[in-house]
């Protein structure tokens, strides 16, 4: 493997040249391992190592970017990025000022999860799989495990030199039940900031998903239409990420006059007790880091406070163009891509209401739990719950087939009328944007209640 620290150090002089308004480089090395099961057999097991880098240049407001995993001829790569930026730029280069930094940030894990022998990982997965298969009515299972450890060295023309290491572990367990021609599945995703121990105690969960999948076979399908819906912390977290979080990413807003009007600060988006936060400074969460991929220090950003829009997520460029402060949200999934505005750990802050009070006055509604899939187009969203129950006369009633929720983001945010007291963060997610996926993020929420939510169905 090439020594990226040496390479990075050798580049500091090269980046100080004044041929561009701004220059930065990333050098990265990573190791990963994965094991996937399809049914009782291992489908794939593998290890990988990777190294590469990139150079990004800004000239007169235009960006040039070149990525590579061949480290020969680096000077030429720098020249190419500058040349591209020159061809592109025809304006002013604007970047919000930040303090330059020189720091080494370690992963903080006791043991790099990638170095744990595959044998130990397989034993754990076998245990989970046996629990799922041991449940009567289960037809098959799907299990995916992966871990990674990577080091990224960032340097720029302003004198920053930051080395950050991070480790990541994630697992997904899916139990699939079948009877006659009916197939139902329930799954869970769990992730950790590189601590293998965190995913080593899911025996109870594995049993639970298997039993739930079997129970779903006999569950009825709900009629489509508008319902009062209560979301559990997992699904509400996905909702806040998908439906609101992506709207807060300023790269979609900063050059779009009309979008700026939609997202004007101070505008009322929801009820008074709605507070939404994105924060990369929460310890131990998968979306956390000390510096983003532009070397900006991470902060906690309120997006909505007391129902009003008060902030948004920025790169240095979007912050400068909107006259706001950078928030440290410029992230790249790996060295093949330039940093773009992304979320980190996004959540709805807890309020006071208990779950019992939240459902107490619902005559007929739906309790939607867990996450199956979801997507957004800024204005509209659809996502699928992994489990669902009817709420009848203030009580959780029969289990129903998983539902798909859909609607207009702005109306739905306004229709949130109750926020619970039980914040929980979901560490299982990965986010995709502009072809960059999966980026480690987390999201969370307490239970929330949404009035007039459109549920798909026949």
């Amino acid at each position: 493997m090439p020594n990226i620290e040496e390479i990075a150090r050798s580049m500091t002089g090269e980046l100080k040249q004044d041929k561009a308004d701004y220059l930065e480089a990333h050098f990265e090395e990573s190791q990963t391992s994965h094991i996937t099961y399809r049914g009782q057999d291992i489908e794939s097991v593998g290890r990988s190592t990777a190294s590469g880098g990139n150079v990004r240049a800004l000239v007169r407001g235009g960006w040039g970017f070149t990525s590579f995993n061949d480290f020969a001829g680096l000077k030429k790569r720098v020249a190419l990025a500058i040349e591209q930026a020159k061809t592109t730029g025809a304006d002013l280069s604007l970047l919000a000022p930040i303090e330059s930094a020189q720091e080494v940030v370690t992963s903080g894990v006791k043991q790099n999860p990638v170095t744990i022998p595959l044998k130990k990982k397989k034993l754990l997965l076998d245990e989970y799989n046996e629990i799922i298969w041991g449940t009567p009515g289960i037809k098959t299972s799907d299990i995916g495990y992966s871990d990674s450890c990577k080091k990224v060295i960032f340097l720029n023309s302003e004198g920053s030199l930051i080395s950050q290491e991070r480790a990541d572990v994630s697992i997904r367990l899916t139990a699939i039940a079948a009877k006659d021609s009916e197939v139902q599945q329930v799954g869970i995703s769990v992730g950790s900031r590189g601590n293998f121990e965190d995913i080593s105690h899911l025996q109870e969960k594995a049993k639970e998903i298997a039993q739930k999948a079997v129970a779903l076979l006999d569950a009825p399908q709900v009629k489509g239409g508008e319902y009062t819906v209560v979301l559990d912390p997992v699904l509400a977290g996905v909702f806040v990420h998908e439906a609101f979080g992506h709207l807060s990413e300023s790269d979609f807003i900063f050059e779009n006059e009309r979008m700026r009007e939609v997202m004007v600060l101070g505008k009322q988006f929801g009820v008074e007790n709605l507070n939404i936060v994105d924060s990369a400074v929460e310890p131990g969460l998968r979306g956390s880091f000390k510096y983003d991929d532009e070397g900006t220090r991470a902060v906690k950003t309120y997006l909505i406070r007391e129902g009003k829009l008060v902030g948004r997520l920025h790169s240095r460029e979007t912050a400068a163009k909107m006259n706001e402060k950078p928030t440290g949200n410029a992230r790249a999934v790996n060295y093949r891509f330039p940093p773009i505005v992304r979320m980190t750990n996004t959540y709805i802050e807890p309020d006071k209401m208990s779950f019992e009070d939240m459902i107490a006055d619902i005559k007929e509604g739906i309790y939607a739990k867990n996450w199956y899939g979801g997507t957004t187009s800024m204005e509209m969203f659809t996502f699928s719950a992994g489990e669902a129950y009817m709420i009848r006369n203030g009580k959780i009633a029969e289990s129903i087939r998983p539902v798909m929720l859909t609607g207009n983001v702005f109306n739905t945010l306004k229709n949130i009328d109750a926020i619970g007291n039980d914040l929980d963060m979901n560490q299982g997610g990965g986010c995709g944007k502009n072809g960059q996926a999966p980026l480690p993020v987390s999201n969370g929420s307490p239970h929330i209640r949404i009035r007039h939510c459109l549920i798909g169905g026949k």
């Binding site: 493997m1 094991i35 049914g39 291992i42 489908e43 794939s44 097991v45 593998g46 290890r47 990988s48 190592t49 990777a50 190294s51 590469g52 235009g62 040039g64 970017f65 070149t66 990525s67 590579f68 995993n69 061949d70 480290f71 190419l80 591209q84 930026a85 061809t87 592109t88 025809a90 304006d91 595959l118 044998k119 098959t140 197939v183 489509g224 508008e226 050059e255 009309r258 979008m259 009007e261 939609v262 093949r336 330039p338 899939g373 997507t375 187009s377 800024m378 204005e379 509209m380 969203f381 659809t382 996502f383 798909m404 859909t406 609607g407 207009n408 459109l454 798909g456 169905g457 026949k458």
Partner: protein
Amino acid sequence: MEEILARAQKTAKEAEVFEVTSEETQVKFDANRLKHMETTQSTSVALRIIKDGKIGYATTTGITDGQQLVKDAVETAVFGTEAKFSLPYNSIYPKVDIYDDATPQVAINDMVALGNKMVAAVTAHTAGILCYANIARSVMTVRIINSRGGKAEYKKSFFSLDLEGHLIEGTDMLFVWDGENSCQPLLDPKPIIDTVIRQLEWAKEKAKAPTKVLPVIFTPYGIASALTYPLITALNGKVVYEGASPLGDKVGQQVFDKNFNLCDDPTIAYQPASRPCDDEGVSSQRTPLIEEGVVKGFLYDLQTAGKAGKKSTGNGNRSRGSLPTISPSALVIAPGTATFDAMVSDIKEGLVIEQLMGSEQGNVLGGDFSGNVLLGYKIEKGKIVGRVKDTMVSGNVYQILKDIAAIGNEARWVGSVLQTPPIYCQGLSVSSKG
């Protein structure tokens, strides 16, 4: 590569090295202006071994002597799947035209000019629209060698034009888009401009969808977003082998409309998905999947074919060196006889669906799909009258493709994996919000 193979052969009975190198240049327009230029150089190397009958595998990037790679592969082989195949030993492959010298030579300035042309045409048509364009060209080289003497090498060029328009009025947002790609330079942006302007015209007025069962015309994009995923899943040889495909026991049976024809064809000249062999070194072939509504066959890679007692159809695909999985190379749905206008004028009340959002979240194996109409239009008395919103559509692929009202006479590519005409279907459940 040869060095890695030799090193692997010291410990494993069979071994295969798969290498992809690529260099891509992209010119990107944001909010109507040239904004980014990117060049990406990348090499990845994957080693697959069969040791004591089991598959081991590891990948790396860049230049390597293979020491770590072989060590990693050997460790994984201990737990690997039992190999049910032998690596292919051929070194002669069908000739498929996928490289054009002109593609990597398209000047950056010409790429910028293409972007400017697209942006200018669309902004001139609709005031206030913001265009995002991407013009890209690349060259990729694939090399596969294995311990049985199998050897494949090919070079492919690639050119693409993509255009997206965002029109925002208050919280009402319209997204329009089109794209084209080829192994040859695409120097005429007119077809893309025309498609985007047509979408803008059709979406100009607003229309309200009722809540009832309606006929629907899926445009090629609509088919890609709503109908192909369940079919691809059901035609996957692995799903068939596991007994989960609803088509698994239907070979030779009439399951679809007699006018419905589907094949996988990676041999079409200058199509980006075309190639002389798959990522395991198996020769490319045209594989009929559905002919005149009758199920003809499924897609296989080496491992699944070995398990199922079939032959690989050359559908072992590896993204950046991952282990091969079965996926279609290029699906082709044969055109029918109806013009698009004739299909529209046949409908008293119905929808045209250009993009369905979330349709892959349903019971895919059963063929169920449902989603929110991200871009779609209402048909009233044989005419498109405007865009529908807040509308959910649900249906079952097997039901709606059993009795197709009409298939369009003009097919087009959607991305590089699907070529299809529009399809006019009966009886989809539509539900609309207040």
